[in-house]
Symmetry: C2
């Protein structure tokens, strides 16, 4: 059995937990009643399972091929699948109807993204980067640029990329050397080398629109002198069709541990023609629109790889017969019991469930806030939505990727020796998922963003609102016996998060290293608290269903996994708090030469 898209989980979240029907007054939601959402997700599931998933191992084994003419051939089948993907209208799901998109809420697009990412992460990165380029132009482009590029990016007819990294410059974008010289006709000539450009060159789309960070001649040094440019592979002609070939080319592909099906390119710009997006020297602000969206998408990739890996492990565990249950044979007529009877195998599968189910809820819940930030008529709701998006993006990016990778590693462990061979999918999930902890800002950079920028922003308004919302939920449900364990667990986690937050505020002033030394552990504590809140919300929804007489075992199982979370995942919160409160002293004490 291969990947089975978790549409049942998606519908539970959308209908019962987030209750998206409450938002039918908002654009996007208005056009997506639940029965239509179910239809869309069912179709997306079918496409992911039947078209994308069978190509996942193919992509891993074949990889991409760089040809001496600078072109790149994607793995067998990718081109045909991409054609179907575009024809099915999937790239346009969440795009603006003004530019040919379907205008569905982000929370629904997120469900669809999860499925394509689980089915084939390397493939789904091509449309993923395209959507990022779409969003940056949507946010910062001129009306002319929008009209020219957005419809073709929204449909997937053209692809998009982000050209940020250079050999000497990854996280520290102030070190960028790529140059832009005004050509006198409103365009620029872009020159420089970019590395690690995902989807930088391929044979899927008829054109590729590179968004390139570069420094205009005479611009200030550092990050204040960086501008963003549109550099198309083929320059659009007067009709907006691909015209002359631009001087941007792929010099080669990176050999890497995973995501072999996605072309990671060295890109050379040799006086390539580009057009400024937005104002001079303000490129990073627009690039961050793209980056923030990408970061949430990477969080989802981490989750999605975890989900696919979990499914493979669960299936293996049910089929592999080895040993006997310590409480008596469960398959007495067979040569052995399935390894699902062994508590330590269960533990790994339950860990996966406890984290994945709540992680999915957390990212959906946050995406819903992104929708509300866009279109809720109430300014307070919009502001809270924006605050939550800003605050939680680094948490979701890092925590879900770290846990997704852990799930993929545990999934390999469930497979035993089989998992280490390339005959089973566990290795690919482990290798593919590992990049999610690194790209779009390493997880440590996310932790720095959370503690250094997002927490103190607006006097701590976002984190205060998040904790107040939790307090209100706890107060409302602590008297309900069925909800009490969840309310208690949540209250405990929130108290620890609050203590850690206060500690960081008090001690980060004295020495900023004190705050950053604990930032990754603080982020984990934040992630655990968020998951505890999601389990409480899910438990409430499941309890309500059960109380209303719904006998679907789905709800009782949900409560079981939730209790497992409280007992066996949440205890890590205490350790994270203790680590946060140690500060920077021993972290920084060794002299550099001692490493």
């Amino acid at each position: 059995m291969s990947y089975q898209p978790p549409v049942r989980e998606h519908l539970f979240l959308l209908r019962d937990v987030l209750q998206i029907e409450k938002y039918a007054n908002l654009p996007g939601f208005a056009d997506a009643p639940l029965d239509l959402v179910e239809q869309i997700l069912t179709e997306a599931a079918k496409f992911s399972a039947e078209v994308l998933a069978p190509l996942n191992a193919v992509g891993d084994k074949h990889g991409c091929t760089w040809n001496p003419d600078g072109s790149v051939t994607t793995p067998p089948g990718f081109k045909e699948a991409y054609k179907q993907f575009v024809e099915g209208g999937w790239p346009a799901l969440g795009a603006d109807p003004a530019f040919g998109g379907q205008g569905l809420p982000a929370v629904i697009a997120m469900a669809s993204n999860e499925m394509s990412s689980s089915a084939n992460m390397a493939f789904s990165m091509y449309p993923g980067l395209t959507h990022g380029a779409y969003s940056a132009i949507h946010a910062g482009g001129s009306d002319e640029q929008k009209a020219l590029y957005l419809p073709k990016l929204a449909s997937g007819q053209w692809g998009g990329t982000m050209n940020l990294t250079e050999p000497q410059c990854g996280t520290d974008l102030g070190l960028i050397r790529t140059k832009a010289a005004p050509a006198g006709d409103g365009s620029y000539r872009i020159s420089g080398q970019k590395i690690w450009i995902s989807s930088g060159e391929h044979d899927l789309a008829e054109n590729i629109i590179h968004l390139v960070l570069a420094r205009i001649e005479g611009a200030p040094g550092g990050t204040r002198g960086i501008s963003l440019f549109i550099v198309p592979k083929f320059l659009p002609d007067a009709d907006g069709n691909p015209g002359a070939r631009n001087q941007v080319s792929c010099l080669g592909l990176e050999e890497k541990m995973g995501i072999h099906g996605n072309a990671t390119c060295v890109m050379s710009h040799e006086a390539a023609t580009g057009w400024l997006i937005g104002e001079e020297n303000r490129g990073l602000a627009i690039m961050f629109v793209m980056m923030n969206e990408a970061r949430l998408g990477v969080g989802m990739q981490g989750l999605a790889q975890g989900e696919a890996a979990y499914q493979a492990a669960a299936q293996f565990a049910k089929e592999r017969l080895q040993g006997r249950s310590l409480t008596g044979p469960k398959n007495p007529d067979g040569p052995a019991d399935s390894i699902l009877v062994h508590p330590d195998v269960r533990r790994m599968l339950m860990d996966a469930r406890a984290v994945l189910e709540a992680g999915r809820a957390f990212i959906f819940w946050t995406a819903l806030h992104a929708d509300l930030a866009q279109s809720d008529p109430d300014e307070g709701v919009r502001q809270k939505g924006e605050d939550y998006m800003a605050l939680l993006t680094p948490v979701l990016k890092s925590y879900l990727t770290e846990r997704g990778f852990q799930v993929a590693s545990d999934a390999m462990q469930v497979h035993g020796g089989s998992g280490f061979t390339e005959h089973f999918p566990a290795s690919q999930y482990l290798r593919d998922s590992r990049i999610t902890l690194i790209y779009e800002g390493t997880n440590g950079v996310q932790a720095l963003d959370l503690v250094g920028r997002k927490l103190p922003a607006n006097g701590g308004r976002a984190v205060s609102a998040f904790m107040a919302e939790i307090d209100a939920f706890v107060a409302a449900h602590t008297a309900d016996a069925a909800m009490k364990p969840f309310a208690d667990g949540l209250a405990g986690a929130k108290a620890q998060l609050q203590e850690a937050t206060l500690w960081l505020m008090q001690n980060g002033f004295a020495n900023p290293d004190n705050a950053i030394a604990g930032s990754s552990d603080y982020l984990r504590l934040f992630g655990l608290t968020g998951l505890a809140y999601m389990w409480a919300l899910m438990a409430k929804a499941a309890n309500d269903k059960i109380a209303a007489g719904d006998a679907d075992p789905f709800y009782a199982n949900k409560l079981t996994v939730g209790r497992y979370f409280l007992e066996r995942v949440l205890p890590d919160a205490g350790a994270a708090l203790a680590k946060v409160k140690t500060g920077a002293e021993t972290v920084m004490a060794l002299p550099a030469e001692a490493f």
Copy 2:
């Protein structure tokens, strides 16, 4: 800079912490005064760094080649390196002088093994398996078998393997189907297929001695009917030289995620000639001699890969310039500071140090107990040595491999995007190290062994002795101000381990699943407690040096890393205890069909 063998660390442990000069009255130790040990380790370091390490990436990229005649070609350079390895006498370091070995204590051989394993894990598996075969024949073979095989295995002239796994049978050896039929001349005809046989076929040695588990016709079912056989690739002739080719052949190689330089073989025995080792149907007992040795060796592999990965990450961190320290530029004349100034990068490097330095001490300390178990004149000391070996082997195998893999993953993280490419060594360390959590019994099987067998053995004698030893250390040093933090940390960890142990004993009776559901967390708690003890021992040694006026910053740095361990690693003990005490209820509650 490539791998730098940590001889300074080895000498600190052997001289100052374990004080091996105290054992000069024992065989092995008598012939290895510290100056000779230093010479040997310095030579081993040179060989590892100069001959083995440069072949590590070569082995990964080229892998092994299966040829249509069933032969296997190892990666370029391996054959020459193996020849040098044998000529240098390295395989014989720990072997019995009666069979051509050098008879060095296990604790010293362990230091040498660490270095070859860090330098080139895939290569070092060839002599590693050979030593396992040596040990099994040494333990269970007849005098004739010993005389015939041991000198050639000890010298490395011949290689060795373990043939256990079959497609339907990994952990559950009772399912073995390979058959042995008496040939009437004292030999047997062995028939069956074995998979995942490390070093099963190669071009390094002139003969390969397979130790094969098989079922003699008519033997009882399950594990009580399994015998162990010697099946040489070439049957020894009357002079003990390789003679006729035996009917054992390699059908192909496994494609796997890592350790590409080691040939993982599908082996076919087609009425191959074999000789019984020991008694009929008692094969598992002898195989476990080999397996226990191998398990300790795998723990060392996990540590060794972590060490190599840490070194690569530390080097990268010192060289990569990106961003500025939050407390002011540390490299003001450069374009940026090295990333070593960032607390979250330090955190990952310090985590590695805190675990690797104490992990190395723990495995050396245990190997020393193995030496004492062999040769101490005091029966009580011998028994304690045996008890500790039995108790701690599963802890070291699982805990050090889990942490070693975590270090390798963090080392990739320190590299950022570079780490995910195959141009840097981080990917190979991550991929190679991952198998250590799986082979020689998965880490979950080790946890089951610890909780189900090793804890209750002899009424809990081993764990009681271990905890009493810790109590005595704490009592002796708690009044020493310099030692108090270490004594307190150790006492806290030991109290938690004791509480967890009692909980398991009390609740495992009612339902064995209760004990096993928490077995992996219990093992982690045991590992943390062991590391806390080792940090206390190392702190004592370092403090003594400092008190004696030794100004080498090595000792002050050791104390710093130790304090880091107490503050930022040991807090996980509380979470592990909490998880142990939840038992099996939620772990086992979901019906099988819900997975």
